[in-house]
Every structure is written in structure tokens, then in C-alpha cells.
Amino acid sequence: MKRTVRRAAIVLAALTITTLGLAVPAQAAVAAPTALADCPSSYACLWVNTNYSGTRWQGMNAIATLPSSINNRASSAYNHGVNCEVHWYEGSNYSGGQLNQPRGNSIPDLGPLLWGDLISSMNWC
């Protein structure tokens, strides 16, 4: 671990340069849809419909079985937490296939992932 942190310090030099103002390389950019803002900070959110619409569920704690209003009904997902990656699971009790979603990341349509109406549990980190 110490070695990893020491090497990380070397990489930090490059990081510091960008922190001080050099631009991040250009990427294709999109603006956040307004519905994302409905998900409170520090929560992970699921919506019954695509593009963050319809009934929303929000959670801050690990939950072994999602409530019936959203269990196996989610079509879009957002990690609005700041501390951890969120893990969505196909089965209750964090079982089956696992979809990891880093901080600040969102997926407007779980359908093409074959994960529409499939999520049953969630935890963090």
C-alpha cells in the first residue's frame, strides 16, 4: 500500500498541473438534463422511465431489497453521491449481475444494457 501511495505521489505532479489550470482534453460534452437535479445530493436515484422521468426512488443507505415501487422497474439511474461508487444488483441482497456507477455518473436508458426493469438492490463502495 505504501508503495502505491508513493507512486501515486509521483502521478500527483501531473494532477497538480491540471489542477492549476491547464485544460482537460476536449471531449464530447452534454448538458445535464434538468430531471437529474431532482435527485438530492448524496443520494443514488432510480427512475421508472428513461431519461430520469416518472416515479423516482432515492437512497442514501445500502438496501438489500428495493421497495416494490422501483424493484425490477428502473429504467434510468444516477449516482449523485460524492463519496463512493454505487453498485446496483440484479438480485436482492446484492446478488447476481452487478452494475457499477462511479460518482456523478448517470445512465439515461438501462434498456440497451439489458438492465431495464432488473435492479433489485443497491450498496456503496
Partner: protein, 286 residues
């Protein structure tokens, strides 16, 4: 939908495929199959990179004046052999259906004062996102500014590489998981698991059916939570014992690994490319 596309086309980080596609290898190497299935050495390798990335993010946040309580994903030794939930968790919580209260979320930790400023330092402006569209058409959106993005760039070289490594292998793994469950070899192991559980006086169709069955039974269960939890933990430990005895999860993983070799040529080429890029990222942190 109110998504304004601010820039599209020829910039890195967009498009359905990288512009330079290498020829697909005849056979994926072990490291690439580990990455796709999230198993073998990749579980530990990814954990080390994750820890370094979080450490870089923390230092960046500190330089920006914030104490950030972020954490890396804990290592899960069970992932190496295809089992998702750690035995340690099962031993303490069973299926998590008989807890006194909801599990404490890590999002509760850390300062909440000046949250907006902290979030902006970590993830940039909320409307400044990048989109990665996978070959299957899945759209992944992620912040392109802030300390988290900068840490990813420092380690992976650019955000596009970070996003592809984060999302594309797991997307294929999910697809392989669905395939594996329809494989006759998995079905045979599942029957052995049922027989094993029956020998211990439990009757369930599958591991998932246990949770569904217990959830239903608990609607009318009046036992004290501690007593109920103890019984639940016993079932969970029998479940994992039978899984290991008949090699249910291990077989599921073996089928996923085998089927990874039969992904289409474009996916195999992309996975081989990402595996190489991950190794490059790994060398940066030592």
C-alpha cells in the same frame, strides 16, 4: 429531453468505436478475460488502481481546500472465483433482511457544509458532462471536470480511456452472465445445488429464490429480529456452502470466461486494447 449537445463528432470521448480498431486476437489472453469477467487477478489489480485514484482525488480536494470522505471499493476475494457477495458479509448479516435498520450509507460520512462547492471541486459543474456511447447503444454520462476527472486522467491518460475501461467490460460481463444462466452445464449445477440444499432440509429453486421466499415468510414472522437473523444466517451459510460444494458460481464464471472467447471480433479487439491500456495505467501507480 433537454440535452444540449455542445460538441459532437470528431473529439475524443464520443462515437461508437475508437477510430483505430486493432485486429481481433485469435484468442483473448487471461488478463483480458479477467478484465471482462471482473475475476481472477483483475479484481485485485483494479482494487489497487482504485485505491490510488481515490488517493489522488483526495489530495486534489485537499489542495482545493476540502476534506473529502471518499473511499475506494473494498477488495472482495470472492470476486476472483465468481462469487459476488463476501462470505464475511453473509456470516454477519445473512441476506440482510433482518437488520435493525437500513445499512449505514457511506454518503452520510464527511462534511455536508458547503456541499455545493465541494461537489463542484470534485465533479465540476453539474451540467458539464461527457457521454460515452457503447457499441450496444448504452449511453454513459460522466463529469469531465473536477478532482475525480483529473485523477482519472492522471492515471488513465484521458477520460475516454477511463470511461471505456470502467463501463465496457462490465457491460459485456452482464451480457455473458445472462448467457451463462441458459447454459445446460449451469442448469445441471443448479440442480446439484438444489439437491445439496434439500439434504440440509431446505427447498429452494435457486439462491435468488431464498431471498424471495424469506421476504414473503417475514411478512407474518413474529420472531424477534435477532432470532430471525440467526436463522437467516444459518440458511445463508448453507447456501454458500452448497454453492462451493457443487461449484455453482465457479461454473457460472467458467462459462462466462469461455463465452468471452466467442464475443464478436470488434468486441474482442476493443477488450484486448483496453486490457493493454489498463496495464499501462497500472504501471503508473506501481
Amino acid at each position: 429531453m433537454l440535452i444540449a449537445v455542445l460538441a459532437v463528432g470528431a473529439l475524443a470521448g464520443c462515437g461508437d468505436r475508437p477510430r483505430e480498431v486493432s485486429p481481433a486476437p485469435g484468442r483473448l489472453d487471461e488478463a483480458t478475460v479477467d478484465m471482462i469477467t471482473g475475476s481472477g487477478d483483475y479484481a485485485d489489480r483494479h482494487h489497487r488502481v482504485d485505491v490510488a485514484e481515490v488517493e489522488l482525488t483526495r489530495r486534489c480536494m485537499r489542495a482545493a481546500g476540502f476534506t473529502w470522505a471518499g473511499a475506494a471499493n473494498p477488495a472482495n476475494p470472492e470476486a476472483k472465483e465468481g462469487g459476488g457477495v463476501s462470505i464475511d458479509y453473509l456470516r454477519r448479516h445473512g441476506y440482510g433482511l433482518s437488520e435493525e435498520s437500513a445499512g449505514t450509507g457511506p454518503e452520510k460520512f464527511g462534511p455536508v457544509v458547503d456541499d455545493t462547492a465541494m461537489r463542484r471541486a470534485l465533479l465540476g459543474a453539474e451540467d458539464d458532462l461527457v457521454e460515452l456511447r457503447s457499441p450496444a447503444g448504452v449511453r454513459y454520462r460522466y463529469p469531465r471536470q473536477g478532482c475525480a476527472a483529473r485523477a482519472s486522467i492522471a492515471i488513465y491518460g484521458d477520460l475516454d480511456t477511463w470511461a471505456r475501461i470502467s463501463y465496457q467490460p462490465q457491460e459485456l460481463n452482464l451480457r455473458l452472465g445472462v448467457q451463462a444462466k441458459t447454459d445446460p452445464r449451469y442448469a445441471a449445477k443448479l440442480q446439484e445445488w438444489r439437491d445439496c440444499m434439500a439434504a440440509k432440509h431446505y427447498s429452494y429453486d435457486s439462491p435468488n429464490a431464498i431471498v424471495a421466499g424469506l421476504t414473503e415468510a417475514y411478512r407474518t414472522d413474529r420472531r424477534p429480529l435477532a432470532e430471525r437473523r440467526a436463522a437467516e444466517i444459518t440458511i445463508a451459510m448453507q447456501d454458500v456452502s452448497c454453492d462451493k460444494q457443487v461449484r455453482l458460481s465457479v461454473t457460472g464464471l467458467a462459462i462466462r470466461r469461455e463465452n468471452a472467447q466467442h464475443l464478436d471480433a470488434a468486441d474482442r479487439a476493443e477488450m484486448a486494447r483496453l486490457s493493454t491500456l489498463f496495464a499501462t495505467a497500472e504501471r503508473k501507480i506501481g
